[in-house]
Symmetry: C2
């Protein structure tokens, strides 16, 4: 007989507790089996088993010799798993007096520790023994300590609920939210997060609360699938105890140690991993910063300087970048300048777009058919009207060997662009791309072959290109890949550049880097870029560095996260997803057409099915990303509201549903994103919900 799974135990407990949610049935107490980290039937620990419920805890301490230490350690094990330990109970045993030490210890941590008299010794006479125990219970349950405990425990629960209920209004007062027009905000639109675990938030909204209290659905907290992967960061599940422990270990070993001229093990290991696993022979040096924006600031400083030095440009020359329209590289003013004028930057006083941006062909599934659509203004005989160039499978799009005609056309186009720019006397200091998916600019799937051709063009075109060097060392125009969103297994691979089969000079990674725990960014550069800053003059150096550069906690968590994700990759954790797409590819593709083995966590059948829904314009899926572009009579734009209706439906859910879906939109695009650890079963339920929510 196989052991009972955690999910089964949890479901049984959850169902039993549900009837206590209203409080009318009194209070339920769950006594766990054994100690805090004693194994559950499946072998996981008690604390991990029950964590999704995050019930308030009464910890029963140890009054025996050594009990001070074991009680505090048990508390720490609960604490680092996100539990609220509200009280600690102990026998008032005179010999070691653990209870008075622990009372003070926990009082300092706002935890109420109390003691009860030890039980009577066993009497030889059975009836006498029963009576003694009876007397003991009667006496003990009426002691002041126990009465006060019961009172405080219930009070803390009330307090927790009233705090939660007040949070949206309080946040409306004190918080300036990111990316939001606050005229649209009220306490009813703010989602309070009580906590999160695995794929789910535990959410509270005043709106939902008002609706529920008048219905049978009387649970205060609503689990919601984290459908934006917490703004594209989430990789290994919320409340992951391994990441929590790793963060704490680094905090305990180092805190933060200044990184100027220094090194520590987590930073060194991470740098070596990034250089090695990227599979790009150009890369040799890692620069640390705190987020994608700062990492891109570093990248652009590196690239423009290298280009200026290589080309012998003057300090006053205006240097531009070459990029794609709808790119997005960050919120700092310098990274905003990397994008063409748009709604994001038009009211930022110091914004000034400093580049040349190209339209590009896009990959889409329309009514069950993969197509590559070229921009409307391309004068292109090959361009299919409306539906674009059709492909038998997603894999075939990545099969560059069988796309020589497209390749030739794209190369001609790219070289034409470069020639025009040169004729106009424009100095281009870098090519900057988000490989495969353009994220915040609208969630678009660029034809990977076109991006590859752009890189090939700038490498071979430049008059300064050293033709005597091989592909891996040739300098030319620096190529920056912004893999902040697309790298590190978001699309199923460590490196998004690997889909294109080219080697950028600078790669920026963040978001998933820490598995979804805290901010950290790496800018990894080639030796040639690095050397452009070497001189005897200090002012030639890259004078950049944030105070928490390479903070040990972030680097250690990143190492742990990458280890786990690389192991999942090796161990075939995503095999069933891959098989699904391989089968879909094989059914419609000849072996010669098969490309890179493109796959997604979203099932191929589901993606096809929703592409046929009447309000869907097109869809695509790759890795953990699913994007659904909805038809908007008013036209596609950032201000579109076509997708918000679906988003709201998914979050409202329907009566009787155990959980809902929290998602984000970008204009008329609704996207969903899984963690790398999300289970197929979970995604299948989401697929059903989404299919229903679409018309």
């Amino acid at each position: 007989m196989s052991p009972v799974s955690d999910a089964k135990v949890l479901a049984a407990v959850h169902d039993e507790l549900k009837s206590y949610a209203t409080g009318e049935n009194g209070v339920a107490v769950i006594e766990t089996a054994g100690g805090v980290l004693s194994p559950s039937p499946s072998g996981s620990s008690q604390a991990d088993l029950y964590r999704p419920l995050r019930l308030p805890v009464l910890l029963v301490g140890d009054h025996q010799l050594g009990g001070i230490g074991t009680t505090i350690s048990a508390w720490e094990s609960l604490h680092i798993r996100g539990y609220d330990v509200q009280s600690v109970a102990l026998f008032a045993e005179g010999r070691y007096d653990n209870h008075s030490y622990l009372r003070d210890y926990f009082a300092e941590r706002d935890i109420h520790a109390f003691s009860i008299p030890p039980p009577p010794g066993r009497a030889s006479d059975v009836r006498e023994d029963a009576e003694a125990v009876q007397r003991y219970y009667e006496h003990t349950s009426s002691t002041e300590d126990v009465t006060r405990f019961t009172h405080r425990f219930l009070e803390a629960h009330e307090q927790r609920i009233s705090n939660l209920k007040a949070m949206p209004a309080e946040a409306d007062k004190a918080i300036w939210h990111p990316f939001m027009q606050h005229r649209e905000r009220s306490k009813d639109t703010i989602v309070a997060m009580d906590s999160a675990y695995g794929d789910y938030f535990q959410t509270y909204t005043t709106k939902q609360d008002a609706q529920n209290s008048s219905s049978a659905e009387n649970t205060l907290l609503k689990p919601a699938f984290d459908g934006s992967a917490s703004w594209w960061t989430q990789g290994l599940g919320h409340g992951n105890p391994q990441l929590a422990l790793t963060a704490a270990h680094a905090a305990g070993r180092y805190g933060h140690v200044m990184f100027a001229g220094a090194v520590h093990e987590p930073a060194l290991t991470l740098a070596q991993t990034m250089i090695e696993k990227m599979g790009n022979p150009r890369l040799s040096k890692v620069f640390y910063s705190d987020n994608g924006s700062t990492g891109m600031e570093v990248a652009v400083k590196m690239a423009l300087r290298a280009a200026t030095v290589r080309n012998g440009w003057n300090a006053d020359d205006e240097v531009l970048i070459l990029g794609l329209k709808n790119s997005y590289h960050g919120d700092t003013i310098g990274t905003m300048d990397l994008s063409e004028p748009s709604i994001y930057n038009k009211k930022v006083e110091w914004y000034s777009g400093r580049g040349h941006w190209l339209d590009f062909p896009q990959v889409k599934m329309r009514k069950g058919q993969w197509v590559v659509e070229r921009p409307e203004d391309w004068e292109d005989a090959q361009k299919s009207s409306g539906q674009g160039r059709a492909f038998t499978s997603l894999d075939a799009v990545f099969d560059f060997q069988n796309r020589s005609e497209d390749h030739a056309y794209y190369m001609q186009y790219c070289k034409g662009v470069l020639a025009t720019l040169e004729k106009e006397g424009k100095k281009i200091g870098a090519l900057i791309l988000e490989p495969i998916l353009l994220g915040a600019g609208g969630m678009m799937f660029a034809d990977p072959l076109f991006q590859r051709c752009l890189v090939e063009s700038v490498r071979t075109y430049s008059s300064k290109a050293q033709s005597n060097q091989n592909e891996d060392t040739r300098a030319g125009m620096p190529v920056i890949f912004d893999e902040v969103f697309t790298g590190l297994y978001r699309l199923g691979r460590f490196s998004a550049a690997s889909f294109l089969g080219v080697h950028p000079d600078i790669v920026v990674n963040a978001k998933l880097l820490t598995g979804g725990l805290l901010p950290l960014c790496t800018t990894t550069a080639s030796q040639s870029i690095f050397e452009a800053f070497l001189s005897d003059d200090k002012s030639d150096a890259l004078l950049h560095g944030h105070s928490y550069t390479a903070h040990a906690v972030g680097c250690a968590v990143a190492n742990k996260s990458l280890d786990i994700m690389m192991k999942m990759d090796r161990d075939g954790t995503w095999k069933s997803f891959k098989n699904d797409w391989m089968q879909a590819n094989n059914e419609s593709t000849t072996p010669a057409e098969r490309g890179a083995g493109a796959w997604s966590m979203w099932s191929s059948t589901f993606v096809k099915a929703i592409s046929h829904r009447s309000n869907v314009d097109y869809v695509f899926a790759l890795g953990s990303v699913l994007a659904i572009s909805l038809k908007d009579p008013a036209g596609a734009s950032y201000a579109s509201t076509a997708a918000t209706g679906v988003r709201d439906k998914l979050f409202a859910g329907s009566p009787g549903e155990d959980w809902v879906i929290h998602s984000r939109v970008l204009g008329n695009v609704l996207y969903l994103m899984a963690a790398t650890t999300t289970k197929k079963e979970t995604l299948e339920v989401i697929e059903d919900k989404v299919f229903t929510a679409l018309e």
Copy 2:
């Protein structure tokens, strides 16, 4: 009899262990008393007591009922304190078979768990008992498990040392360091940080190692006082277990939860604390980002937009900022634009200074005398030649009531500047100041009265100033205070603005915000600034937000750090420092002259003494900051090397010293910075070392 202090126990153990450092005396094993968190004589835990030594650990597990849980919890308690637990030993007790569960559990965590047979039962005969025990020991110590353990434990130690020795060279290969001309870098200049605790790094350098191995000083790791407070971030000591636990709790409760339209308890609490404790009635909304640079980007976007809206400027108008020369606000290109052209930015292709910057009077102690020196190019009858205007004490500088003449002069000057700018048709969108101390731009102490006058001037001057409103609501030109370095007790107070007695519209805080653990930044704004972004048009919103905005780990750690520092402030932890300065102030100042109660952790006697050193130009100290400006025959500049000699002397130390000082320089300024928890005794030793290192 008072209990033995941790320091005393530690010193005794350390001295004893020293003789084993060479390995010639064999291996020492320390057996701690009781469990991992059992109380030490002083009441702290065993794990905390021995943490400064961070010795490799053999954890003796528990083979009894419940022992799986207590063993793992004990390991977690060690792990979050930064220990390397290398092995776990257990009795192979058949009844519960804890050892086989634990062996697998720890193997997954790269920890070697092994078991030994349980000891024999006690025999009634004393001699028989002794023999049985003897046989047991003989047998057990030769079991394969025990032999392998000994071997692996020693091997791990060798491995640790060889890793450490390789680190500088490996870092030289893989790392691009912040703010460094890498031509000056080699493996011999890189400091490897094994770990850190309290005020100290545990450092290894190949250079020191080469010197030591040829001398009697044969310890591999050198403790070094973290004299730059890890780039101005450190507040509560490295490896602080409270912060580590808090970080882990937030990681366990939330991971990171997306903050768009959402709220969680740590972010809300922190926002409320910032608004309340700043003591500035203007402030009402907190915006989160990841570091000082991004927080200043947010601040400048806020201010320029508000100024444009308030003044009805056109979108194309060039808007500038008003600031002080030598200001520094960050490394992103937008924040670089806030500073005048300098060595930091002159080779950043996209830099363009967008402001008007003023020279300013500076506070210095020269040869025992506090002076305020006005800029050389001010046409100023009052200006003392060379020595500047003298003050009886530091406190008297802050006594604005008794400086009405200076006030009148400064106001006249500031209004003159504003009038000129207006005449030139320049549009000034914000006044931006680092209150009191200008940090990275050269560590300068601005006359606080002058900064106050600047704020007063822009508030009353602007033709758009609504004269019918009171001081706390009047809009006018937005005033941004960059308190990233100077706020949150770096200068002894929660708010650095409070020294000036003015209320900025926007305040940016970072660095000390998390007590020195990880990156987080708050930009706190007035209601009036917030309202400038309200409209029915989404594009009028502040479209800014990083993925990890308001990450729960950072906010929770910030709440804990602020709690601890505010408590220290209330409890009079810094009383002896304050008393020292109050006494110094009182001796030389009449009661009427006494100002804000300015004080420093660096003793007034020491500051005076070093101001007389022959190679010292001037000094100052405030809060935890000490700055020593050294005479440089070549003139003061960022490229000056006058201070590096002293820095190198402090880090090299002298034979027999237990620890050295790691410090940073800014041009010809050597500065030292304590954590808020640094002890007076420690600082006294440092003061001696510094006094000696100066000529």
